[in-house]
Amino acid sequence: MNRRQFLAGAGATGASLLAGCGSLRSQSARAPPLVDDRPDATYRPTHREGMGMVGMGQAGDYMVGLTYSFPHRFWTVTGTDAERVDIREEDSLHLMASVWDPESGTVLPVSAGVSISVERDGETVADKQPWPMVSQNMGFHYGDNYALDGEGLYQVTVRVEGMTERRLGAFQGRFGEAGEATVEFDFADAALEGLAYEEFPETQGERAALDLMQMEMIPTSQVPAPGSLPGTVLGTASGSDAEYVAVWLRDAPFLGDGESYLAVSVRTPYNRVPLPMMSLDGTVEADGETVFEDALRAALHPAVGSHYGAVVPTTAADPSVTVDVVAPPQVSRHEGYETAFLGTPSLTF
């Protein structure tokens, strides 16, 4: 399909709109100095970038959407440390792949990830496995900065690996195989110059988040609000600025006699973007006895979305649940998330 452009929601009044200015290489214009004294929490970043559409395509069971923005700094995470990745002078853009289920529109975090290869005239320009990332306005996606070889027509191939996460309900038996899609990208410097770019000198650093961008072609990576989750919501809690919702399912086709399912949905504050790649331990007590004490595994359920869960051998209606974060989400972070969700809290429901 033709490249389409999606802009961030109309620029906030009073913010400076810098779209169309200057050279792409002048990164200082696109990466203002970081906020001093960033809170250990989600915060409003220095700026917001618009996003353009490269294209989309079906990759096996998956649908893949490719978008781009200005090259930008981001943070990779190992353990409880976030490591800043700076923009290189040669970086042309930040390329993002979103993966979703074409039937339900659920955005899928895939542990085995994606590979993106960029070719031009049969020659490889870039070929790497972008990072799983969360961004305030772009949600969960796979992204990295890429150096292209100037303006021209590129072929961008995205390979999405098969999911190894537990898939429940209507997702059972799907997404087990890798899929591949290739889209053409007619890259011009003007494509970036036309993107929205907005700075927030007055409000940067506040405990707030940008709104998730609403796009016509690509579903938003949001998990349901607690009131929209199935089963019994045992409670919500906040830890290291992430929000946790514990859901208890006593009636589901995948459960045997005497079993219930504990799902713990972890999401960003404000935007409800799922936070994958965590190590969680769960303890379930019912009728004064510990009926479960083990790791919760990454899973996907049509109504719960991406979560961590376990089948628990009890049919108790209202168990007490403790969740211990053993490792925080190892997803990379766009600005405004790099100081949040790095702790290892314990939560009770």
Partner: protein, 424 residues
């Protein structure tokens, strides 16, 4: 081979990668002293073709140091059906000539000749006697390799690039002599080369050859790095011994099995985005990074990369750390006697202008390799922890397996076009 022009720039990168008479001539012109001659009695050489360790130099810590230059030739048998005795004699004469021409050492020349499952299909038995030699297959859900299916695989190795180039030219029948010794025969008419792969390992070579796809233009590979990823590997304690990888029984006793994969490396993120601590965590283990145990390329890590200092409870420690080391995962792939199961003889490559690794390993059975690779996949770690299936999971994010092939490496006495069942 001889028709190809070579630019100065290409030659400066690697004569071995270019190959052929012109590259050899240019190498010989550069001089470099004499290459030690071989034995007058080739029958005195070890029955194991893979008996290289005693013929290799060792580093300061006592680890065998693999030869620096490598050529792999994938070969098709030119005849129809089963090989003739005349062809066997020709192959044996050619190899014996090389043994007379070059000392069996990394200063001279080391080589092996192995055979794939396709070769043994020429025989009624269809498979080698007493050895399980499966066709290559994908060994991770996230890889999709092309199978290599030649009849045979020749591996030439030397510290001296003139030796591997001249031996190759002599085997192809392009020259009548090698290292000043007459060749009694060559491979021409018996074997046709279907693919040529080359590589190198050892301090200096990766840095000299880093102007390829997959390595950023910032030239991040240090002069003392033996491999593109910047760390030493092949520690003695993390390798199976030659005894461990030798087939003990049956007609192919004293042989081994060989696996060869080609792995593309993508090191832009590794060098420009990961910090040194992240690289140490992912290559060795997070504890090595936290304790600052790795100096430079890891020459200080003795003969076992201090792997005992990495937590053994790999899944549990990965759950806490959010990252797992490549060596840490591999340390689990040991047999009942706590020995590693494979003997790596891998080396880097610039074939096709791409940074790559020819992962060559020897093991008693291909199953040893399959289990070792399963440990490296870390699927159990990814399923049960914050570690992704490739992100933070050793070095899986930076590599892609493009080709795989399995081979039987017969004992020296059976290296020339062996029958499927030599006992008959």
């Amino acid at each position: 081979m001889t028709g190809r022009g070579i630019s100065r720039r290409e030659f400066a990168k690697s004569a071995v990668a270019i190959g052929g008479a012109a590259a050899l001539a240019a190498c010989l012109d550069r001089g470099g002293g004499s290459i030690p001659a071989g034995t007058d009695d080739p029958s005195s050489l070890p029955e194991r073709q893979h008996a290289w360790d005693a013929a290799l130099a060792t580093d300061d810590a006592g680890n065998p140091r693999l030869a620096r230059h490598h050529v792999l030739l994938l070969l098709e048998y030119a005849g129809e059906g089963t090989p003739t005795d005349a062809d066997r004699t020709q192959v044996e004469d050619a190899l014996t000539s090389l043994e007379r021409a070059y000392e069996w050492s990394s200063e001279g020349l080391l080589f092996t000749l192995a055979y794939g499952p396709t070769y043994f299909k020429r025989f009624e038995a269809g498979a080698p006697a007493g050895v399980d030699l499966p066709a290559p297959e994908a060994l991770a859900p996230f890889e999709d390799p092309e199978p290599d299916t030649p009849d045979a695989l020749l591996h030439l190795a030397s510290d001296d690039e003139r030796a591997v180039l001249a031996a190759e030219e002599a085997l192809r029948g392009e020259t009548d002599t090698a290292n000043g010794h007459e060749m009694a025969a060559a491979f021409d008419g018996v074997f046709e080369t279907t693919a040529r792969r080359t590589g190198f390992v050892g301090a200096g070579l990766p840095a000299q050859n880093q102007d390829v796809d997959g390595i950023p233009d910032s030239e991040p590979v240090s002069e003392d790095a033996p491999l593109f990823m910047g760390f030493k590997s092949g520690f003695k304690g993390n390798q199976a011994t030659e005894d461990r990888v030798t087939i003990e029984e049956g007609p192919f006793a004293s042989g081994s099995t060989e696996h060869l994969s080609f792995i593309r490396l993508q090191l832009q993120q590794w060098y420009e985005q990961d910090s040194r601590d992240q690289r140490v965590s992912k290559m060795f283990c997070p504890a090595h990074a936290a304790e600052g145990r790795v100096e430079g390329v890891g020459e200080n890590l003795g003969t076992d990369s201090a792997i005992d200092e990495c937590p053994e409870d790999v899944v549990e420690s990965s759950r806490r750390e959010g990252v797992v080391g490549h060596s840490q995962k591999l340390a689990r792939a040991r047999d009942g006697e706590d020995s590693p199961r494979i003997l790596r003889r891998d080396f880097d490559s610039t074939d096709g202008g791409e940074a790559g690794l020819h992962f060559l390993s020897l093991q008693g059975a291909i199953a040893d390799f399959v289990e070792t690779r399963a440990a490296m996949n870390g699927t159990d770690v990814a399923d049960n922890s914050a570690v992704g299936q490739r992100v933070n999971n050793g070095i899986l994010q930076y590599m892609r397996v493009e080709r795989r092939g399995n081979y039987l490496l017969p004992p020296r006495s059976l290296r020339a076009l062996p029958p499927a069942d030599p006992s008959q």
